[in-house]
């Protein structure tokens, strides 16, 4: 089998810091390779090096060959689209927001394959029908859901005839049900060529098979066939990576200590604006109780949380707070994308001082909490945009807990984070909530995570209202 991609001793530096150190591998025809590792471990840089998209500010060394020809950085290669192509991370951003969906594919047939208008149009429509996107052919990418946008991106990327596909985090942010058909689509598109996938999701690696390469902070840790690496991993890091998936978590359930009810919800219908998303919901929350809400995206999980917090008006039914003297700032929310929930113009220290000044909290409580959340003192001097997602989420938890919350709604707190950090943060959140006697409502699209750590679970599948998936 010929090696389509050969990478030898690839090293990338940025202002002296080494991001990728002597990575070498090759991708054989017909045998997919998956690169496993946490975000920030340099995986994407490797993919960009192969495509020749490395920004000129990075110093790269080592050789990269595609179909036997060396790849120069920052050069538009004639292979793009025709023989090799790459799927960027965020499908919504990589599709022209103003171009009608079918045109995203037909323009490739027209300009790359040179077909005339009508042939290209029909060809594109056939592709879309295969992907079940025929209904939204005349719509625009912004009107598609995550899964549909990803499928359209794949169709338009491979329309040029490329069968050597590089997929960078293809399943990020997708529901588990959508994930499987994306993987099958990738395999089908790579027929005759090969597939290089970059992901931090173990299930994806398992389904793809072929070889696996594990990278940690730019270093190659382990390589081998999918079965051997996943069944009996050698390196410690690979083991931790595998067992970080939610189905392996062990979180002990709530011991039956006395609990007071703080909130009762009777026959609640929730929705945004006029259209109701879910109805007939009944619930009583108690101090220290962990409640999980699970369902596909768009089924109203976050709307449910927001309604409980009073951010959205309930369409029917009523929510009665039972605890007497709870102040309004004790009902808080934890956001899915930490950087957007904190102002990036000032240092974290200032944000903390603002909170302390407002509520006149005593500052001794900060140090022990930071310790529990293993947050180093040093990050406080930095502003939100120079700190990792995981640390920011822990900082948000710190700020929330300082106010001794009674009710905390965590809206998919870890979906954007790697399994490692996700596991650590979820455990921390649950332990501290119990300790402070605060009711915690966790929302996620991953049933495994919810079953593992919640006392009561609410399943919000699409019972009555079929909203666009």
């Amino acid at each position: 089998m010929t090696a389509l991609i050969k990478v030898h001793d690839l090293t990338i530096h940025y202002q002296g810091k080494c991001l990728v150190n002597k990575v070498s591998f090759s991708v054989q025809q017909g045998r997919p390779l998956t690169i496993l590792g946490q975000t920030g471990s340099g995986k994407t840089l490797v993919a960009k090096a192969i495509m020749g998209l490395l920004p000129s500010v990075l110093e790269a060394s080592g050789t990269v060959e595609v179909f036997g020809k060396p790849v120069m950085a920052q050069s538009r290669s004639p292979l793009w689209g025709k023989s090799i192509t790459m799927l960027p991370q965020e499908p919504w951003h990589s599709l022209d927001p103003l171009m009608v969906n079918y045109q995203q594919v037909s323009e490739v047939y027209e300009s790359v394959k040179g077909e005339d208008g009508e042939a290209a149009f029909n060809h594109a429509i056939d592709d879309l029908t295969h992907l079940g996107l025929k209904g939204s052919a005349l719509k625009r990418p912004t009107e598609l859901s995550g899964g549909m946008a990803q499928r359209l991106a794949i169709a338009s990327a491979t329309a040029g005839g490329a069968n050597l596909l590089i997929a960078d985090e293809p399943t990020k942010g997708l529901d588990s049900s959508r994930r499987d058909d994306i993987i099958q689509l990738l395999q089908r598109s790579a027929q005759g060529g090969s597939l290089l996938t970059i992901t931090h999701d173990i299930d994806v690696a398992q389904q793809l098979g072929g070889d696996i390469l594990v990278i940690k902070d730019g270093e190659m840790i382990e390589a081998g066939s999918a079965e051997s690496v996943l069944t009996n991993p050698q390196a410690e890091y690979t083991k931790a990576l595998i067992y970080a998936a939610p189905q392996y978590w062990q979180i002990e359930k709530l011991r039956k200590t006395e609990r007071k009810a703080i909130l009762s919800v009777t026959d609640l219908t929730i929705g945004r604006g006029k259209d109701a998303l879910a109805s007939g919901l009944n619930l009583t929350c108690h101090t220290g109780e962990i409640i999980g809400v699970v369902g596909d995206s768009g089924c109203g999980k976050s709307t449910f949380g927001d309604t409980l917090l009073g951010l959205l008006p309930p369409l029917k039914g009523e929510i009665k707070p039972l605890l007497a003297n709870t102040k309004s700032h004790q009902w808080l929310k934890l956001f899915q994308d930490p950087p957007s929930s904190l102002s990036a113009h000032v240092t974290l220290q200032t944000l903390l001082n603002d909170l302390v000044k407002l509520h006149k909290l005593d500052t001794q409580k900060i140090a022990p909490l930071m310790e529990k959340l293993n947050l180093p003192e040093s990050i406080l001097q930095r502003s939100a945009k120079d700190v990792s997602g995981g640390e920011l989420q822990r900082f948000s938890i710190l700020r929330a807990l300082l106010l001794e919350p009674v009710f905390l709604f965590a809206d998919e707190p870890t979906s954007r984070l790697d399994p490692f950090i996700a596991k650590e943060i979820t455990e921390l959140l649950i332990a501290l909530a119990r300790e402070q006697g605060c009711a915690l409502l966790i929302v996620s699209h991953d049933p495994a995570l919810i079953d593992k750590c919640c006392d009561t679970v609410i399943r919000l599948d699409q019972q009555k209202h079929k909203s666009v998936a």
């Binding site: 917090l309 951010l311 102040k327 309004s328 700032h329 009902w331 808080l332 929310k333 956001f335 994308d337 957007s340 929930s341 904190l342 102002s343 113009h345 000032v346 603002d354 909170l355 407002l358 509520h359 700020r399 106010l403």
Partner: protein, 266 residues
Amino acid sequence: MILQLKINQKVGVGLLLGLLLVASSIVQLSPYHIADQDLSGRLLAPSAEHWLGTDHFGRDMLTRIASAIQLSFVLSFFCVLTSATLGVSLGVITAWKGGRMALGMDVIVNILLALPGLVLVLLFAAIVPGSLLVLYLAITLTQWVEYFRVSRAITNTIINSPARQLSQMMGFGPWYQFRRHIWPELTHSILTLASFGGANAILTMASLGFVYVGIQPPLAELGLMSVELFPYYAQAPWILVQPLIAIATLVFGFHLLAGNKHDGAH
């Protein structure tokens, strides 16, 4: 809310303050007064006793340019300040309150925009003839709409951002939310608008001077001076160039102050 000034912003501030300092020191030290005429010494080239030559009345150009820079800078700064505060505060409040107030503001903004700016300024100039302050106030009335539109658009995006929502839930008041979340986003676009707002005020004064409004001898104002010296472009081009260079330097200073290069205009 420390405004970290990048190097070229520092250069901008330095240029403007330097210009102002030099201008006020010239006005103090200069032996001539802006109204002292020497009709026999008309349109003289720059010489020892008149460093920048003399205008069509034989008045010393150096003193007049200096006092014009002072006056124009102060008035255009005052004009930019009022139009910015008015525009931004209304823009933010309308975006924040939305609903009926937004509709009401829309109507007012549309009427003000539909009314030709020149008519508004000329009417104000006619209501209180002879006061430069009222003229600049009228110019402000035509300029605040730009700030209103930009700040409302930006605030709209920030209002339902998670950061602001979280701050509100944590009990922070509206002023803190504005200072922490909305104002940092606005500074850049507002500064860019302001950088050309000042110059537009001076140029509007020039276009008013063109239809013989606002001229009050012996007053020295950059916009009006460029109109008064315009007929002498053939005999004494170096005289007409001076107010133009002064205006250009002011704009250059404001522009640098507005911030980094990558997006000049709003």
